[in-house]
Symmetry: C2
């Protein structure tokens, strides 16, 4: 992967991080996502689980939902999904079913991650679609926003 | 499990099968789902992937989405999810994230199933929620509708 490609990854991950910041402001676990096809942003989304009361409204699922809506078909061929955090089991499933070709994520999720952490669903031979995965893009920033969020939550609980 | 409980399972699975029949009529892979809390049906849904162009609109995801909408929170405590077919990776993830307590399914899915077939995600120790699973309820009926559907599709393709 050349320098130019890396710069692209950082460019889109920064936008995913902006989405994560929106989640932070809404008191949601700050995870953001951008879906790109042909170098164009097709969908942006952030975690909206608490605010909507919807178990399925993780950033990645919402981005895939929006992208399918926009394109009109469930096959997101040639797509790049940028997410600040390693996808969970549900989001990995949504990625597989929508045939997302490339997943680029920032930091790992030791409790729920389904690439490196808990299990590998994205690049395994289990299902009929395998994803190209790049991890660690803007890792520090993607990790910091999560740490800051959980620190703030803990401090608020202590004050109560 | 007593006889009475078994009869309940059959009662709700029949309704899930009615949902699967709706999918069949819409030329969707015929899978249906019913979500029950306190012996009341909270949501019914069938696979709508092709008709909506939505990769995520499997029967189980739609039932969970509707149930969360109705109840107003993402925790479906004490819930029973009846589905005609063994849940896939995405639906298993949605089941785990919404804390569905019990999954009752009809027939296995050798290509995508995430309980007995490809991998066990529902009752494993991988994540922070484990599901009670009962399989094989009205197995023959749940399998037959799928076989009929795929046979019809194959025959149509042959005629072309």
């Amino acid at each position: 992967m050349g320098k130019e490609k890396n710069m692209n990854h950082n460019y889109y991950m920064k936008i995913a991080l902006e989405e994560a910041k929106k989640a932070y402001k809404e008191r949601e676990v700050p995870i953001g996502c951008v879906l790109v096809i042909d170098n164009k942003i097709v969908a942006k989304a952030h975690n909206m689980k608490e605010v909507t009361g919807q178990a399925i409204y993780h950033a990645e699922v919402l981005a895939i939902k929006k992208a399918c809506e926009k394109i009109g078909i469930w096959r997101l061929e040639g797509s790049y999904l940028y997410t600040t955090v390693e996808p969970c089991v549900m989001c990995s499933g949504a990625i597989i079913h929508s045939r997302v070709e490339n997943v680029i994520y920032g930091t790992c999720d030791s409790k729920n991650g389904c690439h490196k952490s808990k299990i590998d669903l994205l690049t395994s031979n289990l299902f009929n679609h395998k994803v190209n995965v790049i991890s660690g893009i803007m890792k520090e920033e993607c990790e910091k926003i999560l740490k800051d969020f959980f620190k703030e939550i803990r401090e608020e609980k202590r004050k109560k």
